[in-house]
């Protein structure tokens, strides 16, 4: 059979004829099994509907349970019912057509203009227009159609008399789900069907319905299609009792009422009884389609649980679409909690033995590796072969009982499935997978324990931490996939972020503190100390000792650097000079070693390649961790204690600032304040105050740097850039400063008369009245300060929540829209349809990942 390309799909309504054509059996017994436990002929599990019990043969197709696709049956309803899911369309049709002549309740001119406007594809095709003309219509179509339909309904509602046959139109009332009234008289489904059947095909097209596939009278059901048993399998409980599917239960209900209705009609029962049963039948059919239809009580199981009928199977998060179709599960994957292991290389992943012994990698047996394959297959201890797929496509599980036999039959072309071993390339992923480095290839290291383990340096690209995060692991199965993982996705190729080319896989936090300590000018280590930390890092040489037999920290650091590396840069803590692989001047901080625009890693990466860089990262992180563990660092309340000098400086700073502000306020009141360009006097004052207060904050940082000992741990971490900042120190030891609102201005309202709190005079613009907090966390906040702080905190919390939600969704849409674009070898951007998106990537052909390299190279050239 040749594969055909689908060029369009059209949805329509199933007609009674189609129901009868699809159906293989008319069902008339409202039951499932007889006393012998055998499916009743004409019952809901009639064997002509297909079979699900293994061993039985389908009476329609003759196939067994596994191969029989199932066959539809049908129930003939003795009285028609309305399809509840379409009752709104039925209502629209009844409203817009005449009750007597069934034509659209509009004059000929109106109809004609509508016809022009709403010419759908259907109509155009009917007129045999060329495809270009149809395409032209398509563009503006949807808008116009919607518009036509809406204005039509509006117009029609006010019409009292049919313009064609002059029949008086009575208002039709609709009560969901399926009741229609004219005045007090209820419209029966057969009346409605007659009305719908009377609408002409031309009129339907105007109303946006394609009569070829959806005649409206088909919305009133005579025959109900019964899905095959595969769709609603019954379950045999342990007790031998059979439990039927919810759909079967509902169908039994429908058939029971249908049968009772038939009996009553035949017996000539009074109309009231027939109508009641008819309504009951309508209810059951409605519930069968959607048991959550508004206006009907949901049909319940004996236990009180609402039945899951057709709509419930498809709808929502746990429905067929989102759960089963979009949410496919994946084989050869594992998921568990992650934790750290600084002794794993940055491109390794620690895999629990339990997982490694279940995941498999295919081993393709060839004439050249037959010996090796035999050796593997013969193994009874890890790593063993779990499965064997022979050339005839049969897959067998290897157990001790069949190993010997299969060993004899092993031949080239067989595929063995081997347990995961050290060194296998696997893909490692943490959701949300927002950028390409959310999935990277790691080398397997089988370890005891139950968690995946990764080096601390690779947490930033995954945005992972170890407070319970879980990650997924996938084993590439084909050789192509394994090669792709190894040469495109491996961690060592991902050190620099694809976003801006800045280092993203780096040492962090304590790792930076360690380097900062180690590379201080006065760091000296004894031979014992030096060998200890170097041993941990796996370096088995010592630098030249100083005169007194000790070793300089900088010299020890230099052992990590590749030979011949030279770097001369400025950092926030002065110049940093590396000459010929030796650190001569400067200390290592986040600027040179951590995340971000990091010249040291960039230089190593550019001049020595990814292997040297990976090696540097791993070795240096071990060394750094060893040294920081050895030297120790601790932060407590003690670090933030203020002495008299700091307290005095704080007071002076605040007083001076407040005085400055007060002067400005006086000037303003005396109308002597000169306004800033583009601002009113009042706005100028406000801006000047904000500037003064910001300056105060900056000064507070300077005060701290001046007064706090450089040995203070918190200060050291802030300088090294490993954790915390001067600003946070300020908040704890100086003052919190200005609390801002969402709009960026100072807090100025809240209480009902233009002030923040009743304790503040209206019109007070001094810092303390507008959310400037002069106290700090260490000494504690005054009540008003606490309030101001709470206002600010709440504001920023709300802002953060809104921002992340919005930007997250925006990013998701963007990345989904762009995900299949790629750069062709001529640097043009294409999509999967080979459409030209850009003639040159980004307009300049520059890959962001290399931009930092470019800058560094350009600098070197100068």
């Amino acid at each position: 059979m040749q594969a055909e390309v689908i060029d369009n799909v059209k949805f329509g309504i199933v007609s009674p004829e189609v129901v009868k054509k699809l159906s293989v059996v008319k069902l008339n017994v409202p039951d499932t099994y007889n006393e012998d436990g055998y499916p009743i002929d004409g019952g809901l599990l009639d064997q002509r509907l297909g079979v699900i019990d293994p061993g039985l043969i389908c009476k329609t197709c003759g196939a067994r349970a596994k191969t029989c696709p199932g066959h539809f049956g049908h129930i003939e309803l003795v009285r028609p019912v309305i399809h509840s899911e379409f009752s709104k369309i039925v209502y629209m049709l009844l409203q817009s057509t005449c009750s007597a002549c069934h034509r659209i309740l509009l004059g000929n001119e109106d109809v004609q203009s509508l016809r022009e406007k709403s010419k759908g594809i259907v109509a155009l095709e009917a007129e045999e227009l060329s495809s270009e003309e149809i395409a032209e219509h398509k563009a503006g179509e949807t808008d116009q159609k919607k518009h036509a339909g809406r204005s039509l309904l509006k117009k029609v509602r006010s019409i009292k008399k049919c313009p064609h046959c002059s029949a008086i139109q009575n208002k039709i009332k609709f009560s969901s789900p399926t009741y229609f009234y004219i005045g007090d008289r209820k419209l029966k489904p057969d009346e409605i069907r007659d009305a719908l059947a009377g609408i002409s095909n031309d009129d339907l097209r105007i109303l946006g319905i394609d009569p070829d596939v959806s005649r409206p009278e088909w919305l009133v059901l005579d025959a109900l299609l019964v899905p095959p048993v595969n769709v609603r399998p019954s379950i045999t409980l342990e007790s031998g009792e059979r439990s039927e599917d919810d759909l079967t239960h509902k169908l039994v209900d429908i058939m029971r009422i249908n049968q009772r209705l038939a009996q009553n009609i035949n017996a000539g029962a009074p109309q009231i009884i027939i109508d009641d049963l008819w309504e009951l039948l309508q209810y059951h059919v409605t519930a069968y389609f959607n048991n959550e239809t508004s206006g009907i009580p949901p049909a319940r199981h004996r236990s009180g649980r609402a039945l899951k009928t057709i709509a419930q199977r498809l709808k929502g998060k746990e429905g067929r679409f989102r759960y089963n179709l979009s949410g496919k599960r994946v084989n050869y994957s594992a998921r568990t909690v992650i934790s750290v292991d600084p002794y794993l290389d940055i491109d390794e992943v620690g895999v629990p033995f339990e997982i490694a012994s279940k995941l498999t990698v295919p081993f393709y047996v060839t004439a050249w590796n037959l010996e090796k394959a035999r050796e593997l297959l013969a193994r009874t201890e890890y790593p063993t072969i779990l499965n064997l797929t022979s050339t005839d496509g049969k897959r067998k599980r290897i157990i001790d009982a069949n190993r010997e036999e299969l060993l004899k039959e092993l031949k080239a072309g067989d595929i063995l499935e081997r347990q995961l071993v050290n060194g296998d390339m696997v893909l490692f992923n943490r959701q949300p997978s927002l950028h390409r480095v959310s999935i990277m290839a790691h080398r397997v290291r089988v370890l005891p324990g139950k968690t995946f383990r990764i080096n601390f340096c690779v947490t930033p690209p995954y945005n992972a931490d170890f407070d319970g995060d879980e990650m997924n692991l996938h084993v590439p199965q084909t050789l192509e996939a394994q090669a792709e993982a190894k040469y495109l996705l491996e961690v060592k190729y991902q050190v620099f972020s694809p976003r801006d080319g800045e280092a993203i896989i780096t040492n962090n936090e304590d790792g930076i503190t360690g380097m900062y300590f180690l590379t201080q000018d006065d760091t000296r280590l004894t031979k014992e100390e030096a060998t200890y930390i170097l041993g941990i890092a796996g370096i088995y040489e010592l630098p030249a000792p100083t005169k007194d037999g000790t070793y300089k920290g900088k010299d020890i650091f230099s052992l990590l650097l590749p030979k011949g590396l030279s770097l001369d840069i400025k950092t926030s803590l002065g110049p940093l000079r590396i000459v010929d692989g030796k650190l001569i001047e400067g200390v290592i901080t986040k600027d040179t070693y951590g995340k971000g625009n990091n010249k040291l890693l960039l230089k190593i990466g550019m001049d020595y390649g990814e292997d040297a860089l990976k090696d540097f990262l791993f070795t240096s992180s071990k060394l750094s961790d060893a040294y920081v563990t050895f030297s120790g660092i601790t932060v407590g309340v003690k670090e933030y204690m203020t002495d008299n000098a700091i307290e005095k400086a704080r007071q002076e700073l605040l007083e001076a600032t407040f005085k400055q502000v007060d002067d400005k306020i006086q000037q303003y009141k005396a109308r002597k304040l000169e306004s800033l360009i583009g601002y009113t006097k009042r706005a100028s004052l406000e801006r000047m105050i904000i500037v003064d207060l910001n300056i105060a904050r900056e000064k507070a940082g300077e005060v701290l740097i001046k007064h706090v000992s450089s040995k203070n741990s918190a200060m050291q971490m802030a300088r090294a850039g490993s954790r915390g900042s001067i600003f946070q120190y300020e908040q704890m030891s100086m003052f919190l400063g200005q609390q801002a609102t969402l709009s960026g201005g100072r807090i100025k309202r809240g209480y009902y008369t233009k002030r923040v709190l009743p304790h503040i005079n209206p019109g007070d613009v001094r810092p303390s009245a507008r959310g400037f907090v002069r106290t700090n966390y260490y000494t504690g906040l005054s009540p008003i300060d606490i309030f101001m702080h709470a206002v600010g905190s709440r504001g920023s919390e709300v802002y953060k929540a809104l921002l992340t939600a919005r930007s997250g969704y925006l990013y998701r849409r963007l990345s989904n829209a762009l995900q299949d674009l790629y750069v062709e070898s001529d640097l043009s951007v294409r999509d999967t349809g080979n459409n030209l998106i850009q003639t040159i990537y980004g307009g300049d052909g520059i890959s962001s990942i290399n931009t930092q390299f470019m800058k560094l190279a350009a600098k070197a050239d100068k």
């Binding site: 270009e132 001529d826 080979n834 459409n835 030209l836 998106i837 003639t839 307009g843 300049d844």
Partner: protein, 76 residues
């Protein structure tokens, strides 16, 4: 009245000759369908008198990067 299509921030548009179009399609290994579209009613098409099927060469200048862009004129 200022003619907006002559404004300096509008990149230069010109109609490609048939030979040039063929060369372009061949060099990129694509068909006309794969080129971004521009409506015939676009001011630039109006100005140049471009008709459906014509290919416009657009000399873009984004932040100092000069590069070419192509659009095929379609009805609309």
């Amino acid at each position: 009245m200022v003619n907006k299509s002559d404004h300096e921030i509008i990149p230069v548009h010109e109609i490609l000759k048939l030979k040039e179009v063929n060369e372009l399609l061949e060099s990129k290994g694509i068909t006309l369908e794969n080129i971004p579209k521009i409506f015939e009613s676009d001011p630039q098409c109006q100005k140049l008198g471009a008709k459906p099927g014509h290919v416009l060469k657009i000399q873009r200048n984004d932040g100092g990067n000069r590069y070419l862009y192509y659009r095929v004129v379609v009805e609309g």
